[in-house]
């Protein structure tokens, strides 16, 4: 007679409950550790309430003519239009990478002029920053002020564009703060911002930074650098200069 098959051992609800408790408690501890670590490390690395208040490389623009939103000689044969949002971290990357070399190698010698086309699609901090940057253009230092804001860029829409920061940077750059405030709130700056937004819409600008190159008074054409290195921009600008 074949042996009876053995019954499987009974389930032990206690073991199951213990295992669930272990998993839950372990997870709770790990989540707590991870969240605390994340908050502490993120704040330590980039607290929006602290600013370095640097103004970027102030010498970069020294001696280069600035007329409102244009940097460079008015008669430079090629214009590069830069659509930027002052909160955009990728725009900041561009500032930190090829921008200064473009300024030194193409703008300073009078080959290329840059036109700032600020748009504020990322949020309220973008709008405030743009108003003050355009206002700085009335005092001939739009590009300096934009560079300073990029150097102090905080978390997106974290409230990093404070009056204190704006005033500090204005002071560092020798701007008239009262005039700056007045212009930033004024109708002319508002119209200028609206015009830039309209141009971005008309050119179907997909985001920031977006670059257009214009030869003389010709139609600006979109260029799409694959990196922000000067080596990427060089053939683009040389090609335009050769036209």
């Amino acid at each position: 007679m074949p042996p009876k098959p053995r019954k499987p051992p009974p389930r032990h609800p206690g073991t199951r409950n213990r295992n669930l408790l272990l998993a839950g408690a372990g997870a709770a501890v790990l989540v707590l550790v991870l969240v605390i670590a994340s908050v502490l490390l993120a704040r330590g690395g980039g607290d929006s309430t602290t600013t370095t208040s640097t103004t970027g490389d102030a010498a970069l623009f020294a001696g280069i003519p600035q007329h409102d939103d244009v940097l460079g000689a008015p008669n430079a044969p090629v214009t590069m239009i830069q659509f930027e949002d002052l909160q955009c971290p990728i725009c900041r990357s561009y500032q930190e990478q090829g921008f200064s070399q473009i300024v030194e190698q193409y703008v300073r010698p009078g080959k290329v002029k840059l036109r700032f086309a600020g748009i504020a699609f990322l949020g309220s901090d973008s709008e405030k920053a743009l108003s003050y940057v355009l206002a700085a253009g009335k005092q001939g230092k739009l590009w300096d002020y934009a560079a300073a804001l990029y150097a102090n860029q905080g978390g997106e829409n974290s409230g990093w564009v404070t009056d204190a920061l704006l005033e500090q940077l204005a002071g560092d750059l020798g701007l008239d703060w009262s005039q700056l405030m007045q212009d930033a709130a004024g109708g002319e700056v508002k119209q200028q911002a609206e015009a830039m937004a309209a141009e971005a819409a008309q050119r179907q600008v997909p985001g920031t930074p977006t670059f257009f190159v214009q030869v003389g008074n010709g139609t600006p054409y979109l260029v799409q650098p694959t990196s922000f290195s000067i080596d990427t921009f060089r053939p683009i600008l040389d090609d335009a200069l050769g036209q």
Partner: protein, 142 residues
Amino acid sequence: MSDRALRAGVAVVALGGTAIAAYLTYVHYRPSALICTASGGCETVQESSYATLLGVPVALLGLCAYLAVLALVVYDSELARVGAATIALTAVGFSVYLVSLQAFVIDAWCIWCLVNDLVVVPLLAVLTVWRVVRQPEAAGAA
């Protein structure tokens, strides 16, 4: 549902999560998009200070977690089941935190992060906890 099916389900979901986490890790180290868009948050989530822990991308941590779950589901002991459930439940908790960050702090969305946090992770948690609740009927469990 049999334990075999559950085990296969965990593996499949963990593989899916591995793929997403691997992609996000790749994007972190080599962002191909040089542009911020209004809808994409200009990779803001990936660029934010919350995207790394002690220099390690959160996506990479997620990748390691998914691989650990895969290893545990292959090994498959009682302790391995508890371990997999612990990892999955941890991921649920941390995902809630990450989604909250996107909504209230960073104010930008990372689409693949959301797919991971709102679909893959909860599904993994359900399946791994279900396996802990269902103890094997054979006398193989320790």
